[in-house]
Amino acid sequence: MIVLTGLTKRFGGLLAVDNVTFSVGKGQVLGFLGPNGAGKSTTMKMIAGFLEPSSGTAEVAGFNIATAPVEVKKRIGYLPEGAPTYGDMTPASFLDFIAEIRGFDGTDKSRRVDEVVERVRLKEVLTQPIDTLSKGYKRRVGLAQAILHDPQVLILDEPTDGLDPNQKHHVRGLIQDMAADKAIIVSTHILEEVEAVCSRAIIIAHGRIVADGTPEDLLARDPNHNAILVRTAPEHLAGVEAGLAGLGTISRITRDPDGQNDPLLRIRGDGGPAIISRVSDCIREKDLNVEEVFVEKGALDQVFRQITTVPPEATPEVTPEAGDA
């Protein structure tokens, strides 16, 4: 559905997007991550046909954005960053305009508008000027505009930015509902969102792709992925630590400065399989005095920081020792 080949954008001397190549198929929800200024929005603007690439191509549903921009735009729903809308219009007249320009008229038009209003829950503010609406409603008007024509490809630039947790949940639900028959790209800063809605994640930094995989793949790049956490009372700490020695790298975690909870030990495997069973066997054998044992999933934001704060030349390799303790 979406095929980017060597997509590059320069603004004067600044290389905003550098040779980005990926494709997104039907049924995929791609989470597009990266620090501010990494080139996410610029890439999305190029796919949506707002910016022309300096080199490389973007194809949507088989149409090249440079040679058939209008065909591409017909098949895309695009929510620009900040969800700009015409503030002096009401959601009703704004969506009516969008429906007309998308080629609907008569009963077809009103059916589409009603449907989308229902879907993003705009009914109660339909006749108020958009300028007077809350941020959440404004965002939903923008979203309604993007999905009104049931496009094959959906490009959403920070769709949940500034929404409250309930609204975020609702928007994520919408994205998941639409995922089956569309190719969707969602940019976001919120990493939990990637785990919640995306089937694939791409991290971009300094205009280049630095990671591409399922959210699980990315989690696995956290050095603490699958590490074991063991909680024990302070008086047993030394004993437990000694008992577990040899299973892996053990570190004390001082996440709990005021000492409300009992301390934690983290045991990081040396790459061998299923350290959890070895740890639990060991605890049973030596009858160590522990309170709880659990497996760490790893944190996307940890992975994100690691990948995106390394200078671009040295990027992709995640060194196993670079964790916190």
Partner: protein, 244 residues
């Protein structure tokens, strides 16, 4: 074509959704009236025509048209809606024409609302209504040229104040270029051909010709080609600016 009209409709609606339209129309009517009766001496000259009414149009437009045109594109850029508009399945040309037609249609509405003037002069005497119709058409064409310049300038900047000032200045130059004052300055050093060219660019010269009741094809071509040129430049600027 369909898209142009949809955009025109949306734009026109948004003029009337805000006080802009009403303020403009009221000021336009008040000023045309004031100029006609107080400075144009409509009654004292004892002639049944609308010359005192029309002769001030270029000067009124100089102030009022850039006020309409300044927001056409700079507002879209400022609020980011240009990104929305240009990712809808419309061409840049359709967007430029749609916006221009809305603004031009709006001035047509304002101009139409001066009809009491026409009625008045017909009640008071027997004017040449052909001349009046020609003058209305000429005035509207001139407004179109002012608007096309303003629209193009508006696409250059995010700042509406800058758009207003530059548009007013460019329009001023086009208006003034027919005055002897300006032409004498050029005669001092420029070849006759250049002087003629400058003179022929003048809105005043062409508008006065139309006001005399003769709609010369050359005046029509002048205004329409001027509109076409500025709108063409407008399309190019919108495309260029969006990529930068």
């Amino acid at each position: 074509m369909r898209n142009i009209l949809i955009i025109t409709k949306r734009e026109l609606k948004s003029y009337f959704a805000t006080p802009v339209a009403y303020v403009f129309i009221v000021i336009f009517l008040a000023m045309t009236g004031a100029f006609t009766f107080f400075i144009g001496n409509f009654f004292d000259r004892g002639r049944a025509d609308l010359e005192p009414f029309f002769q001030f149009h270029p000067w009124l437009y100089l102030l009022l048209i850039p006020a309409i045109s300044m927001r056409l594109w700079s507002e879209e850029r400022k609020t980011g809606t240009i990104e929305l508009l240009m990712t809808l399945p419309v061409t840049t040309t359709a967007a430029v024409l749609g916006k221009f037609l809305a603004a031009w249609g709006f001035t047509a509405i304002a101009l139409t609302l001066t009809f009491p003037m026409w009625i008045t002069v017909n009640v008071l005497g027997n004017p040449d209504n052909g001349v009046i119709v020609a003058s209305y058409i000429g005035s509207w064409l001139m407004a179109g040229a002012f608007l096309a310049i303003g629209s193009c300038v508006s696409a250059m900047t995010k700042n509406q104040v800058i758009a207003f000032i530059i548009a007013a200045t460019v329009c001023f130059l086009f208006t003034m270029s027919g005055l002897e004052l300006v032409l004498n300055f050029f005669r001092l050093w420029a070849p006759e051909l250049l002087v003629e060219t400058v003179a022929s660019m003048s809105f005043l010269t062409h508008f006065r010709a139309v006001m005399n009741g003769v709609i010369d094809i050359r005046d029509l071509i002048f205004f329409t080609s001027l509109i076409t040129f500025w709108l063409f430049a407008n399309v190019i600027i919108v495309d260029l600016k969006k990529s930068a």
